[in-house]
Symmetry: C2
Subunit: 167 residues, 2 copies
Amino acid sequence: MLPAVTFQPIGIVRTPWETPEGMPIQPVGAGQAWGRAEILDSLAPGLRDLEGFERVILVYELHDPQGRGEPRLEVVPFLDQVPRGIFATRAPCRPNPIGISIVELCKVEGNVLHLRGVDLLDGTPLLDVKPYVPRFDSFPNSRAGWFEKRQDRATTMRADGRFRSPE
Amino acid sequence: MLPAVTFQPIGIVRTPWETPEGMPIQPVGAGQAWGRAEILDSLAPGLRDLEGFERVILVYELHDPQGRGEPRLEVVPFLDQVPRGIFATRAPCRPNPIGISIVELCKVEGNVLHLRGVDLLDGTPLLDVKPYVPRFDSFPNSRAGWFEKRQDRATTMRADGRFRSPE
């Protein structure tokens, strides 16, 4: 048994999405959806130099236990009709509920990042922000397994309650 | 104060890098460096369907407190000579020591992922594995702030002890 790992959120993300139903399933489908990452005042000096980046990588906790559902190892993802191994999907009901989103950074104002294209629930605890660097992060032709013929549908697909736990 | 978030590692990553000195600073500089993610047996069914993906996103704890150094808000990164806000860098001495690496997936064998291009220390606790999906993750022309003219140097740059805490 490996020791547990504990993190202290660096802030909170505000978005228009109060429940998973109707939320875009990926930033590419979130269009102009605004959002705002409010970083703790004490950490604001760490945001210096971020404004030159067009996109940032948000690392966060998928914090709503009802919305993300119980962890499972196989799941029927939004873009498919058959069960897939959870680590071959981006579904939220993962063993560790960690989310990653690459979103557009519009402006930095004090301790607040103004974001566009957010696919996060309102109130999401933010764990880290990293600059998106194409040379490290962009692999346009990377083979995408079962997603291959389905990834474009993510631009219009909206979440539903499929991962939701029974109340 | 936001509540702390706790995760249980899903496995461990084995690599040739026992200390940060000499380690590639990004997967793009790691070339053929092999690695292996050993997932807990109980979670192995979650790896189904992963083999069709050329790359995976590893989410992990930067676990070596000496190697990553004390958290700080400004840092002189490997690719620059002036201090930058920590959230505008990929340096390990972050408020939350969470790392993300996009690595090549060569083969899945039972509970083991065989990887190429690893820039992780041996023994790194793995928190999540996600499939790399170009439509979600690839933005080849995204503006990269201070990295803009420096990102190519990451292919040859090696880490040194600069973030190391005094023993």
